[in-house]
């Protein structure tokens, strides 16, 4: 992934999702517990069947994250993870799945000699990243970054929340590139034991838009993946459940690969059930 960023295909991410629908999108925090480990873990997730991989660039104030990813970010920062180290990791990675960077806006702004989003985007493209997700950058503030991403052929992925409705939903969906990151429920990231009603409602609301939709926030098991895909998603996004493996497993690489396989199987199962019996959609669970 060291080729010139200008050569990156315009629809890397969208293609990855559409071609692999239902797609599995996996997330881990770069530098947790070290960048060397992250490299091995990303390769494992790639082998396990990830269709897209999000790499978290750690920021000291991760307001959108729950306890699990907060802890991962703290470990990564304690290990001395820097943006430059991050990009060097990406330079080195050769994965099937396209890579996205997920980070907070200030990290993007500060890269380079003065507050400006372009140096970051340029370097991201150069490193071979296909897109950027910024959890604290709503569409209203996104113009500078979107322009820079457009200039360098990167997708800027927007989040659609359960509270996103009406005019704002229109605006966001008109700007979506890559895919719409559908936030499964209110709150922060973190593995949960069920799939929320909000997920079903959000997918319902988005059904009229012809862009890939991937659901994240709280997805931790193959069965969730299945249910989400059945509910109409083109992909599932899993993060905290993988961080738990990074932090707790004796052999994280192997377990990450196995987990990715389980999740991908779940997603595929959901898609199959959808094709076989569209009338037998499971009831959304009550909150």
């Amino acid at each position: 992934m060291t080729d010139d960023s200008n050569a990156a295909p315009e629809s890397d991410i969208e293609t990855a999702i559409r071609e692999n629908d239902p797609a599995l999108i996996t997330y881990i925090t770069a530098g947790d517990p070290s960048l060397e480990d992250t490299k091995r873990y990303v390769e494992a997730l790639d082998r396990g069947g990830s269709d897209l991989i999000e790499l978290g660039l750690p920021f000291s104030e991760p307001v959108a994250e729950g306890a699990t990813i907060q802890a991962a970010i703290n470990r990564a920062l304690d290990a001395g993870t820097t943006p430059e180290g991050f990009f060097e990791l990406v330079d080195d990675l050769e994965t099937e799945a396209p890579l996205l960077v997920m980070t907070y806006y200030n990290m993007i702004l500060q890269y380079g000699s003065e507050p400006d989003v372009r140096p970051f985007v340029e370097r991201a493209a150069e490193a071979g990243l296909s897109g950027i997700i910024v959890p604290d950058l709503p569409a209203e503030e996104a113009d500078p970054l979107r322009e820079a991403c457009d200039d360098h052929g990167l997708d800027l992925v927007f989040i659609v929340a359960p509270t996103t409705e009406g005019e704002r939903l229109e605006t966001i969906m008109s700007q979506v590139s890559g895919f719409a990151y559908v936030q499964a429920r209110l709150g922060t990231t973190g593995a949960r034991a069920d799939v929320s009603t909000a997920t079903h409602e959000s997918l319902e609301r988005l059904s009229e838009y012809d862009v890939p939709k991937a659901v994240g926030f709280g997805v931790s098991e193959g069965d969730h993946a299945a249910e989400i895909v059945e509910a109409g998603a083109d992909g599932v996004i899993v993060g905290s459940a993988l961080i738990d493996i990074v932090a707790g497993s004796d052999d994280p690489a192997a377990d990450l690969e196995a987990k990715a396989e389980e999740l991908k199987r779940g997603a595929v199962r959901g898609a199959e059930s959808l094709t076989v019996d569209t009338e037998d959609t499971p009831e959304p669970e009550q909150p």
């Binding site: 920021f59 000291s60 104030e61 991760p62 307001v63 959108a64 729950g66 306890a67 907060q70 703290n74 920062l77 820097t82 943006p83 907070y104 806006y105 200030n106 990290m107 702004l109 500060q110 890269y111 507050p115 959890p135 604290d136 950058l137 709503p138 569409a139 209203e140 503030e141 927007f158 989040i159 659609v160 929340a161 359960p162 509270t163 996103t164 409705e165 704002r168 966001i172 936030q183 209110l186 709150g187 922060t188």
Partner: protein, 406 residues
Amino acid sequence: ATFGDYGGQYVPEALMPALQELEDAYERYVLENEDGFMDEFRERMRDFGGRPTPLQRADRLSERYDREIYLKREDLVHGGAHKLNNALGQVLLSKYMGKERVIAETGAGQHGTATAMAAAHLDMPCEIYMGRTDVNRQRPNVYRMRMNGAEVNPVEAGSGTLKEAINETFRDWATTVETTHYVIGSVVGPHPFPKLVRDFQAVIGREAREQIREKAGRLPDSVVACAGGGSNTMGTFHEFVPDDDVALYAVEAGGSSLGVDEEEGVAPNSATLSTGTDGVLHGAMTKLLQSEEGQIVESHSVSAGLDYAGVGPELANLVETDRVTPVNVDDDAALNGFHRLSNLEGIIPALESSHALGYLEESHDELGDLVVVNVSGRGDKDLETVLEETEKRDLEAAPDVEVFDG
């Protein structure tokens, strides 16, 4: 952005509708006084909060500095600081908006206690997030909040101080945004918070401006206020901003020294306006104490209330446009300021406000003949810190306090 290059709404998408709802409520209730909101707010600030606060001529400081020094006495507001102006305004607004619950972050506990008082007064369920370290070292404030009926949620993450408490409150809000209002404690955060908080705090300057005209017959040559997040600063300055001849000084915490220790990720000060760089924190583009890579560093000040790595975006813009002069004094100067006002005027000021008084001592020659200093709060809460910190130092203004046994 909202204020020149500063401000904006850098928050998770899930919160955007709530910010828009708040913006709408701000315009209707605060700007247009719909349903008499501002009338009720002002009436409650009078009867419950104790407004107006006096503008007092400081006789002995005036003599000491050979010019007219007036003190705006926000230490007399219910709860002991200007904080209630904002907390009561926001809790009342949340009622008008039909919210069922308020949440707030607190560092040393001043904003938490103000919010808890306002919530008790208005019968609104209230939860306060406070870092575990702060919970354990600010017990009296925790008790005050509990006694006012607020839940206090200790935040275990990180260093367990203000930054973590803010992050955690944002997380709660991201989950409960449909029924909950987040009472942000200063002129920081995403739009419309900096304007909303400023407008609730602007009563300080509005009163002071009228009072100084009445007492001194003219506007002051300069107005001095301490600056952490900047709510007392903006509250004091706002009405004076159009008065071009009135110099405005924002006094930050110089801590033990200026600059950032990149290695440790620590700034031994909170002089954001004086030394910070532009960036995004807690929802707004503003000036920050950060590493070159964009990580927020831990700020430090002897005054917990100034100890914040960010600052209000409007204040950042007023500094950028040269309307406000950012200055700073170190911990020693603030402690001396604390002792000096206590000893000379019989007012024990908050350590935050003591920075303004420290600056007055150091630079009174530059402030003209008629000076207004905002005493943003009282210092009872700081007694223990002051005793500890005074003992470590050789301060010219400190009394000997040893009258105890063994």
